[in-house]
């Protein structure tokens, strides 16, 4: 397993007018499960192809453990890949499928069968080693494909291209659990491409958010959730997403609908987008501070103590805002919106106020 470094990597498809992405700097740590998160067209799969060697960067360099592999072909790179749908050798049994990459590296005999048995055991495939791929469910097939990717012990990097797409929703969590467990036990460096933020948040140690050919932000799930550097990251991560409401900064204070809601020390005055997570805010009929809102909808998600908790949707001058709280307000009521003072983030032109990106 290796540490993977992308240094100022750009890519442009032949004949294209502009780069698919440009100047991407990224460090994927040894043994890390790293997710590339973005909607389709963000450049995720292209980065994956650059890592596997199926595509070459038009500029920049790629290192595996300090070794420059920018120009190396896939077979020289020591990577493995799992695709969106299970890619197996149809005429070979599960055992032969798992052995295939090892055989090509000269493994034979007891050493080979022991390694294959070990991987099959970890992926709960021992029962179907003798079977052909046609006899397997989609779920089992994808497990075999994952097994084939993990079977070479000295593999530098395992790439997963939306590996749960083809699997039925009911078995997705199970496949993810087995995959995550194998990743931790084998200490595999993994890059996991997905457009599903839930998948990324639950699987990855760190996430890189891509948008329109730019790597916006890399960080732990908690980092991205609480300190998004870009409006797009704030919007993309979390369900329901962050509230992003037009407001302003005036005299070092965030103002929403004219009301001061949180301090904004040292930030230049002017209009901005004010962001806060649903659980950072509360709608209440008590008090006289905070913007006036109208409750439009409540949705129960569970109970805390004896009181129902869930999502409250309110209307502020035509803008919809969600909060996560105890459901002690009724639809149609006028109420006050209160936001946790330290948690509010502001964005101007999509970039977080006061962040490194804003200074750049």
């Amino acid at each position: 397993m290796a540490e993977v470094v992308l240094e100022k990597v750009s890519h442009r498809y032949p004949g294209a007018q502009s780069d698919t992405f440009s100047n991407v700097d990224l460090v994927i740590k040894q043994g890390e499960a790293h997710a590339l998160l973005g909607s389709s067209g963000a450049g995720k799969t292209t980065i994956l192809n650059l890592l596997s060697g199926l595509a070459r960067p038009s500029a920049g360099r790629i290192f595996f453990d300090g070794l420059d592999v920018t120009g190396a072909s896939p077979r020289k790179r020591n990577v493995a890949q799992v695709f969106q749908f299970p890619v197996l050798y149809a005429s070979l049994s599960v055992q032969e499928n798992l052995s295939f990459p090892l055989r090509n590296q000269g493994w034979r005999g007891a050493r080979l069968s022991a390694r294959v048995a070990d991987i099959a055991e970890r992926l709960e495939l021992t029962g179907c080693l003798k079977r052909r791929p046609d006899a397997l469910s989609l779920f089992e097939k994808q497990l075999v494909a994952i097994g084939r990717a993990l079977v070479r012990p000295e593999i530098d990097l395992v790439l997963l291209d939306e590996p749960l797409t083809a699997v039925e929703p009911a078995t997705k969590w199970q496949l993810r659990r087995v995959l995550k467990q194998a990743q931790e036990e084998l200490n595999a460096t993994m890059v996991y491409v997905t457009h599903d933020q839930t998948e990324a948040l639950t699987f990855a140690d760190r996430i890189s958010v891509l948008h329109e050919g730019k790597l916006l932000q890399t960080g732990t799930p908690a980092d991205l959730y609480q300190h998004p550097a870009y409006e797009h990251v704030a919007y993309f991560i979390g369900s329901p997403g962050m509230n992003l409401i037009p407001g302003e900064v005036l005299d070092g204070v965030y103002r929403l609908d004219g009301c001061a809601i949180a301090p904004a020390p040292g930030l230049s005055p002017g209009p901005c987008v004010i962001g806060f997570r649903p659980e950072w805010a509360e709608v209440t009929t008590e008090g006289t501070e905070g913007p006036m809102v109208t409750v439009t909808r409540t949705r129960v998600l569970g109970t805390r103590g004896n009181r129902p908790v869930g999502i409250v949707s309110v209307d502020l001058n035509g803008q919809s805002i969600s909060t996560r709280q105890t459901l002690d307000v009724v639809v149609g009521a006028s109420a006050r919106l209160k936001v946790g003072r330290d948690r509010v983030v502001g964005f101007r032109e999509g970039i977080r106020l006061g962040s490194e990106a804003a200074h750049a």
Partner: protein
């Protein structure tokens, strides 16, 4: 509650009639003929399986049968690998692909007797481009007098005529293989042979089954092209089953033996195709 009736059978009646008049009745007529000695329309004698015995002992029939197998095996052994090779060397996408596919389809669109005529001229040692070129190289090539030359010309003609079919079918099979299968093989360190053996060949299995079946049946029934090109000669060296049958039924008017021959011929093709198909299907299940 609806009443149950058997009226649905009326729905399949047209198909039953078409099949009966186009296949079953003619075949039964032939079976009927094969059991009788026919002198004229009013005089016929039931002879049982005599014609079958006679046909199976007829050295000319057995020679034609051997030639037929040799020919079919030879053209299949060339056309199938060559067709796959052509399909693999075609560009998978792009403007040129369409042009290549059209060019490949051209031999398939030419009427069979015209194919025979083209090759009859092409291979002539005096004025044909192919034959005259060989003559110019100092080779004594003459397909009308030399048995080997006649066979070479026939096999070349069949390969020219039918390899396209195998190539087009294989191309369709190869085109259905998605890119990740190749990428995975590349990442797994597979050699070019392994890519063919484990990625492409399993995917080509069904189209190749069809290709082999079609070519096997067609080559067993070949008539027009050798009839035009060599007329079965020199001697009987290129007389295949269908031509011998035609000679017997049309020129000599031996209806009984010809009918017995037809039934044997039909059963032979049926048997070979069944053997091939079941063996392919059985190995697919393993």
């Amino acid at each position: 509650m609806r009443r149950r009736t058997n009226r649905a059978w009326l729905g399949v009646l047209p198909v039953v009639l078409v099949v009966a008049f186009s296949a079953v009745l003619p075949l039964m007529t032939v079976v009927n003929y094969s059991l009788q000695d026919i002198f004229d329309t009013n005089t016929r004698i039931f002879v049982g399986f005599d014609w079958y015995r006679e046909t199976l002992r007829d050295p000319r029939f057995l020679d034609a049968l051997l030639r037929q197998f040799t020919f079919s095996a030879t053209v299949l052994a060339i056309e199938i690998p060559l067709g796959i090779l052509v399909a693999k060397s075609l560009p998978r996408t792009g403007a040129r692909t369409g042009m290549f596919l059209i060019l490949l389809a051209v031999p398939l669109l030419i009427p069979w007797n015209v194919v025979g005529t083209i090759w009859q001229l092409f291979a002539r040692p005096d004025i044909g481009l192919f034959g005259a070129s060989l003559t110019a190289l100092g080779l004594d090539f003459n397909y009308t007098s030399d048995v080997l030359d006649a066979w070479i010309t026939l096999v070349l003609m069949d390969v020219w005529h039918w390899t396209s079919l195998v190539a087009l079918l294989s191309f369709a099979g190869l085109a259905s293989i998605q890119e990740p299968y190749y990428q995975a093989a590349e990442i797994d360190g597979a050699s070019r042979w392994q890519v063919f053996r484990y990625v492409e060949l399993p995917r080509l299995r069904s189209v190749l089954t069809i290709a082999v079946l079609l070519r096997l049946m067609d080559s067993l029934m070949i008539y027009t092209e050798p009839f035009v090109l060599t007329g079965g000669g020199p001697g009987n060296s290129t007389t295949f089953l269908s031509q011998y049958l035609t000679t017997m039924a049309v020129s000599q008017f031996d209806l009984g033996p010809a009918a017995a021959f037809s039934v044997l011929y039909f059963l032979l093709i049926l048997l070979l195709c069944w053997l091939f198909y079941t063996s392919v299907m059985r190995s697919a299940e393993d």
